[in-house]
Assembly symmetry: C2
């Protein structure tokens, strides 16, 4: 722990960064935002300066004083270990496994496949046009949302939020992916439980302040 | 904890399942292997019976008695919490964050994009032929390996293995991805540290017994 505070290398529309913003807000931890523009000038995440912080050339990266932590889920686990209250994970091993599995169904099964660099590569390699890239994104979100809806609906462990009545790591992953689904105009009717939890979370200040449009680097009028 | 033992829904060539086999072996936990054939008959992971266990229709799934745990990294965390020794993660928050970030650089940044279902979808949507699918796989492995090599080389925390001199969660992710890289014939010269750690791990019984070709469902003569 340090008195120097947190610095978050961030991008308003990155859903991995959005997760960490939610987590920091839920814990009441203040941080300085350092935007990394993922598109301008070929992507500032590829600069030598940023690569020295994060060799994966992805956001987010969290500085805790001098210490660099990368990977959004590793950052959330780190925050939970160093600032335990309020917890992002439940106390019991079974509950922790459930929350991590829900979180990873977003962070491993959906998000990486629809990430910016994959869409850019689809365009350069297969000449995928805008419509095809949108179809691709929707397809993989739908695959993971179908799984998540089953995992969450009619499960006694699901409460007001993904796990019980306290928002945590699974919610911090679900909400940014739901934002992506809205952005890509995925039909959300098949996912009433996800919609309900998204609405519950959206009523919370910690989630609202983390929203893309509320970030300092968001354009004044965000593109559709 | 239970006396009923572990059952692993497994597939010999799944690198996510391979990670969990390594983890179970490192901890000296015996398990019954229940192979799920990912290709035959359109993929047994899509059967109603398997979907009832794992709505994501992916392997692995671990049964701990009656309890189902999914997502390979969530399974490893669960094993570390319920069977702490030997540990897959270091004791300090900083080290744990580093190991998780290394593990997720494989499990989130590389593996999902080259996964079977993505290759199948590339084929059906963009008519990607075998060569293009191989290029695609190599590309994303190279992207993550470049990051991993930087994260591991010349870092004081790297030892005989990814983190110190005890094999753990990061190694359990690296080795199966390295196996994939060999399978796709990625040139490995740029990654001497990954190669060295792969070789170190390959000398260990826990890793050797987890190898795809050592599994009960591996074909007698594995296809190239």
């Amino acid at each position: 722990m340090t008195t120097m505070g947190f610095v978050l290398y961030d991008y308003w529309r990155s859903s991995a960064a959005y997760r960490v913003r939610i987590a920091l807000n839920l814990k009441g931890l203040s941080y300085a935002s350092r935007p990394v523009h993922l598109v301008r000038d070929g992507g500032e995440q590829h600069s030598a300066d940023y690569q020295a912080i994060n060799p994966s050339q992805l956001v987010p990266s969290l500085l805790d004083g001098e210490r660099v932590v990368t990977q959004s889920l590793a950052i959330m686990e780190y925050l939970d270990e160093t600032h335990p209250e309020p917890a992002l994970l439940p106390a019991d091993a079974r509950g922790r496994a459930r929350v991590r599995a829900l979180a990873m169904t977003v962070s491993s099964d959906a998000h990486p496949i629809g990430n910016l660099r994959v869409l850019q590569y689809l365009q350069s390699t297969f000449n995928a046009d805008e419509l095809q890239r949108a179809d691709w994104s929707r397809h993989w979100i739908a695959v993971s949302f179908t799984a998540l809806e089953t995992m969450l609906a009619n499960n006694a462990a699901t409460g007001r939020y993904c796990h019980g009545d306290v928002p945590g790591m699974a919610d911090a992953c679900l909400v940014p992916q739901f934002y992506n689904a809205l952005r890509w105009k995925l039909s959300l009717e098949p996912y009433p439980t996800l919609q309900r939890i998204y609405d519950e979370c959206s009523a919370l200040e910690a989630f609202r302040r983390a929203a893309p449009e509320a970030q300092p680097d968001a354009p004044a009028a965000a593109p559709a």
